[in-house]
């Protein structure tokens, strides 16, 4: 079992200004925009590089702010009306890909979509992982869904939270916050 030290917790809501890399604007869903903003906040707070960081994401739904209009477009106008970024913007693992590319992280990255248990399963997988990494990000994406067909299926909640852990104890670590003992 991996022993990790909690370094930082942060969150982003719809009231935050979104920090999206210029080359990713219009190509990603709101869930990824919020993850970009979240990780930017964490990085600024810690002044750390994320190169050997594992990314575990709890993301219950897909990106429907991007995918909803694409579904309508394909039904009404045919497949040529679908944007070319649908395949990469919509699926739940988009967040881990966008963050790993933007921050040049090469460690293991996995996304869990087990309903309300997603975060539990992501956290368990992080602590059970046999992969080699020096730090880890646990990102919770409260998925942004859509008013499908002009009726509200899910409200736009727009909340993302993140926890940054390290394998080594640092001055920023909080002693009492590593949740599972090393065995």
């Amino acid at each position: 079992m991996t022993c990790l030290y909690l370094n930082h917790f942060d969150h982003v809501s719809m009231s935050d200004n979104m920090v999206v890399p210029m080359n990713r604007k219009m190509k990603v869903d709101l869930m990824s925009e919020m993850a970009f903003t979240l990780v930017d906040k964490i990085q600024k707070a810690l002044h750390t590089e994320l190169d050997n960081t594992a990314i575990f994401v709890a993301n219950q739904y897909a990106g429907w702010t991007y995918g909803g209009p694409q579904l309508d477009a394909v039904i009404q106008g045919g497949m040529n009306k679908v944007q070319t970024f649908q395949a990469t913007a919509w699926f739940p693992a988009a967040i881990q890909g966008e963050i790993s590319i933007e921050h040049k992280t090469s460690g293991i990255a996995k996304t869990f979509s087990s309903g309300s248990w997603s975060a539990v399963h992501a956290l368990e997988a992080l602590f059970m992982s046999s992969s080699d990494f020096s730090s880890a990000l646990l990102i919770g994406a409260d998925a942004i869904t859509l008013d499908f067909q002009k009726k509200v299926c899910h409200e736009k909640l727009g909340f993302s939270s993140g926890i940054y852990w390290t394998k080594d104890k640092s001055p920023l670590c909080q002693d009492s916050c590593h949740p599972l003992d090393s065995t």
Binding site: A93, S113, S114, H121
Partner: protein, 386 residues
Amino acid sequence: MNKVYILRSSVVSPLGNTNTDNFVNQIDGKHGISVMESHGVSPWKSKFCAKVTSKSKSTRTVDDIAKIAAENLVEDFPGVLSNARVIMGTAVGSAVELEYERRRNKLPDESFFSFEKAGISVSNTIKSSKKPIAVSTGCTAGLDAIGLAFDRLRLGFEDIVVAGASEATICEIVVASFDRINALSCAENCDSASIPFCDDRSGFVIGEGAGLVVMCTDKYIEQSGLEPIAEFLGWESISSNFHMTAIDQKGTDIATSITKLVKKCNVDPIDIKFVDTHGTSTYQNDCAEFAALIGIFGLNPEIHVTCQKSLNGHALGAASAIEIANIVEFIRNRKVPGYVNSDRVSSDFKRLPFTTKPKAVRDGDLFLKIANGFSGIHSTGLIRAL
């Protein structure tokens, strides 16, 4: 640390809804690729798909397909699986049902937005009361689910797990997503639609299906007296941080995943006898995978290379689970099919020893499975024949 074994697998694919159908058709080199019917306002640019067939329904859903695979396991192990944790992968979840409901102008059921339906379907079928785990890492989801099962078993958090993935993909929004980025095959002939590593390949054929494996610990084997087919030695997964869809054609990231895996499992690459490629039939994947394999294995003529997507198409998140479930069946039957298009392999890739001939499996033979996916995910797994 526990050792992790594989007791049995179950495959539902365009080649058939039973392990036997899948094994026989693979050995015979028959493909499951057929003409794709369009339900939308525009014709498909890609003409072919690899669809699961059924007498009772024309369209299968992700949970239907998973259920068929789980029912096959229950037949093999009546009463054994009720204590098992289910870990299931999927890339597109219930996209088929969502699109169907949207076309009917109906407000979709909330469950259609979930990625859990396949796992719940398998859990219900095997009568497990444990909360299923849903993994949604795109096209590596199947191998990732099996790898995550390995982690839980290795540390003793579970005794027995049913792991794998299920996918239903044949709907306009899913096909359009890949068609718009020119990832799908443009072949005019279904026999040439999915031909990894061949000169005239033009992309992948979208497929569907499910693959499940029953995994357990060495302690469970001792207590139950059940006989394992294979040992799962370990897995590795890295992020390339290269591009959301593209792969570095030098193969560096695939090679890194393999190198880390063999080191972790304490295996010399020269001892690996079988390599089951990701083999999508896209130019980028073929170049990257070839470079990685040549870099690691050199010109070892003893390696037997397989490309299951040439017959099954690409079932996205379920692909690697179907392929691992088939590997388990190859081991059980002591025979691995060759690559049916070996004689058409591009001269660029001839240094890999492709052959049409099946190869016999011996005790202790090692199988390497490779899976690549969008978001720059490169996962690998290592299986030992018993």
